[in-house]
Amino acid sequence: MNIEKFISEFADQFDDLDTSSFTAETLFKENDEWSSMTALSVIAMVDDVYAVRLTGDDIRNSKVIQDIYDIVLKKSNS
């Protein structure tokens, strides 16, 4: 896995927000667009691309994109 690619895939789940400044440390819920729909899209994207099942709690307990990346990495190795 590669964090740059992941950030781009993650950012792709937003339709309106300017995500060009997204980094691993971006607080991804601190914007106007984030919603339960974006959360479902992130979960679906991770399942599609990494075959990893994220839970609602994984999203709830994460603040920055790196947090999600780390969970996906951990789950894909287990």
Binding site: S36, M37, L40, S41, I43, A44, M45, D48, R53, L54, T55, G56, D57, I59, R60
Partner: protein, 246 residues
């Protein structure tokens, strides 16, 4: 007076009986006196339910998505006075992530299987005159839309559409065909880990009477299977704690 909801002397088949709503329907209709025939995919859980039946018929472990298993089930069945189609699955995906594989799988279990099962019961003349068919549908796809629920909603919308035609076609034999469209019922089906406990609690607040329990649907099924509803066909009973009136 005689209890109008009594099911004594009736033979009733319940699909999806190993868990959730189907499990409770099997227990309840048997409690009302029906000789109850059950089918489901999980052998252990189906057998647990079978042991709770007051008037047990037969239990048959089957995956009704497989046509041969449907044929085997039908061969085992006596002539039936009632059928409850309760097997169902759900998968939550935003629309841009839906795909043919998941759509096929949901439609297989939620629509094709119950449709073909009724078709085969009719062909083999195993549905008695004055019988009752009850589809467990949903408010989803018929009255409301919720985020990520397109595939499930479509399958339940298809059930409600088909049921009206069946009700007309079978009226000559006085076989009644009705739906129950529940809102959120507390079964393992709704405890999908993609939702947090907090999200479910927030959702429950949108229900004037909170989430329902399997018994709320089972009691409606008793009514639709009994002679109390002998003039009711082609209808849908919304059992949703007041969700859709808002």
């Amino acid at each position: 007076m005689n209890n109008p909801f009594c099911l004594k002397g009736k033979k009733i088949l319940v699909t999806g009986a190993s868990s959730g709503i189907g499990r409770q329907i099997a227990i309840s209709v048997s409690g009302m006196g029906a000789e109850t025939f059950i089918t489901g995919r999980n052998e252990q859980r189906l057998s647990d339910v079978f042991n709770l039946l007051e008037v047990p018929g037969t239990q048959y472990v089957a995956d009704l998505d497989i046509e041969q298993e449907q044929d085997n089930l039908i061969e085992l069945m006596p002539n039936l006075d009632g059928v409850v189609l309760s097997a169902g699955i759900v998968k939550t995906l935003p629309f841009k992530f839906i795909n043919r594989k998941d759509l096929d799988s949901i439609f297989e279990t939620n629509f094709f299987s119950p449709a073909i099962l009724i078709n085969k019961l009719l062909k083999t003349k195993k549905l008695n005159k004055n019988g009752s068919v009850v589809f467990i549908s949903s408010i989803a796809g018929n009255y409301v839309g919720t985020v990520g629920n397109a595939m499930y909603s479509a399958s339940k919308g298809a059930i409600n559409a088909m049921q009206k035609v069946l009700a007309i076609e079978l009226s000559a034999q006085r076989i009644r065909v009705n739906n129950i469209s529940p809102g959120m019922i507390k079964t393992e089906l709704i405890y999908d880990p993609i939702f947090t406990e907090e999200q479910l609690k927030d959702d429950e607040k949108k229900y004037p009477l909170g989430f329902g329990e399997p018994i709320d649907v089972a009691n409606a099924a008793i009514y639709l299977l009994s002679d109390a509803s002998k003039w009711v066909t082609g209808s849908t009973l919304i059992i949703d704690g007041g969700f859709t009136i808002q």
